[in-house]
């Protein structure tokens, strides 16, 4: 533990947003790992038991929360992961998101689909094979195919007279990568709950020469070249294999 504290102290001096993100994720992972080990040690079985494998399908609850925020964002996200090798979980996430905003001098809309693919690595070492809690770090590559538009664009001019522009619309693709870290806890057999913290880096901010998208589905505000994201999901693992 002392070693851990010294390590964390050294990492406090790391600068730069990338390093900060890695630091945050590692810190969260280590904190959780310590707590989970304390729990698991109470229930360690001396003999190995059968372990269940299968695709774990999840639904993110956070997009439903955004329905009640201002501006309102309508969306949904599903995920699936599978342990293909010990502690390695390929992950696929699919979602839809849309928003519309009415400003003083323009109206804005953005809507589209997105997908992410990546790998999670489980850091949690459980002695009882029947336990399926995991604590992961990993990465994602994200792509969003969406359309954004602005209408009723007004440019004030006292002298020449106010200018109303033609609407602007563009179909776009956004690309980004994410560093992720989080936990999944099996609350009852095959049913999981868990959270995931994401630190995202946008790869093509200038995808539209006229205006930077205010809402890139799956990423967030395109004005920010890096941003945080958070998922809180419920999962069900289809128990296909026991070995």
């Amino acid at each position: 533990m002392i070693w851990l504290m010294l390590k964390l102290k050294r990492m406090m001096y790391i600068s730069g947003s990338f390093s900060k993100a890695v630091f945050v994720l590692l810190f969260l992972a280590v904190q959780g790992k310590v707590s989970a080990q304390e729990v698991s040690e109470q229930e360690v079985s001396e003999q190995d038991t059968l372990r269940t494998f299968g695709p774990r399908i999840g639904i993110d609850l956070v997009p439903f929360f955004y329905y009640f925020t201002e501006p309102k964002i309508i969306g949904a996200e599903l995920s699936v992961d599978f342990e293909i090798y010990k502690n390695l979980y390929p992950v696929f996430e699919l979602g839809y998101s849309s928003t519309s905003v009415s400003e003083e001098t323009f109206d804005y809309e953005s809507a589209g689909n997105y997908a992410r693919a990546g790998i999670d690595y489980n850091l949690l070492k459980l002695k009882d094979r029947s336990e399926h809690h995991i604590m992961t770090v990993g990465f994602r590559y994200g792509i969003s195919v969406f359309k954004h538009s602005s209408e009723n664009i007004l440019i004030y001019s006292d002298y020449w007279g106010d200018y109303i522009s033609e609407p602007h619309e563009n179909s776009l693709r956004g690309h980004w990568i994410e560093l992720v870290g989080g936990i999944k806890v099996e609350v009852v057999s095959n049913l999981y709950m868990g959270w995931l913290l994401r630190y995202k880096f946008l790869l093509n901010q200038n995808m539209d020469p006229v205006m930077i998208p205010a809402h890139i589905p799956g990423y967030g505000n395109g004005v920010d070249t890096s941003t945080f994201g958070f998922s809180y999901s419920i999962f069900y693992m289809i128990p296909l294999i026991k070995k």
Binding site: L8, T105, S150, Y156, W160, G161, S165, V210, M211
Partner: protein, 156 residues
């Protein structure tokens, strides 16, 4: 130690969320013209004793747009409704008509400030001889003109 780490994380989160932007009252694209003269075959700044400037607006009466004395430059908005902007310059007793032809494209300034027009200056015309020659120094005129921007030189 734990509280310091938590403060560190929270400060990163907060600073990444805060942004303050100050917007102009309007998003006019302001062109800056500077008066010049030839001295020893080299361009040099020129100051006029008094300047009055009127915009020529189709279907609307011309009205005073700029009045300054003395000055060596003027800053005026370009007309977003046409592909040209015309002004009448009055320096003392002399007048001339300045005509700028341009193209324009819409661009987003920011989500707080809205949209503006990016003008590209194509040519400068003048009629009576008060303006002897003109030169485009920077053909891009946007809605975020800075203090030291100069778009055209007018030689008197």
């Amino acid at each position: 130690m734990l509280s310091r780490i938590l403060i560190f994380i929270i400060s990163i989160l907060i600073t990444s969320c805060i942004s303050v932007e100050i917007c102009d009252d309007d998003n006019n694209s302001m062109m800056v013209a500077k008066f010049m003269t030839m001295k020893d075959e080299m361009p040099a700044d020129s100051t006029v004793a008094s300047l009055s400037l009127y915009g020529i607006r189709e279907g609307r009466p011309d009205s005073l747009l700029y009045n300054q004395d003395p000055t060596n430059n003027f800053k005026v908005p370009l007309d977003p409704h046409h592909d040209f902007t015309r002004f009448v310059l009055q320096i003392g007793e002399q007048t001339d008509t300045l005509e700028l032809t341009h193209r324009q494209e819409l661009y987003g300034i920011s989500y707080d400030c809205g949209f503006g027009n990016l003008f590209t200056l194509d040519s400068i015309g003048y009629r009576t001889g008060m303006i002897k020659s003109a030169e485009i120094k920077n053909d891009m005129v946007d809605a975020e003109t800075k203090e030291d921007d100069v778009h055209i030189w007018l030689f008197l």
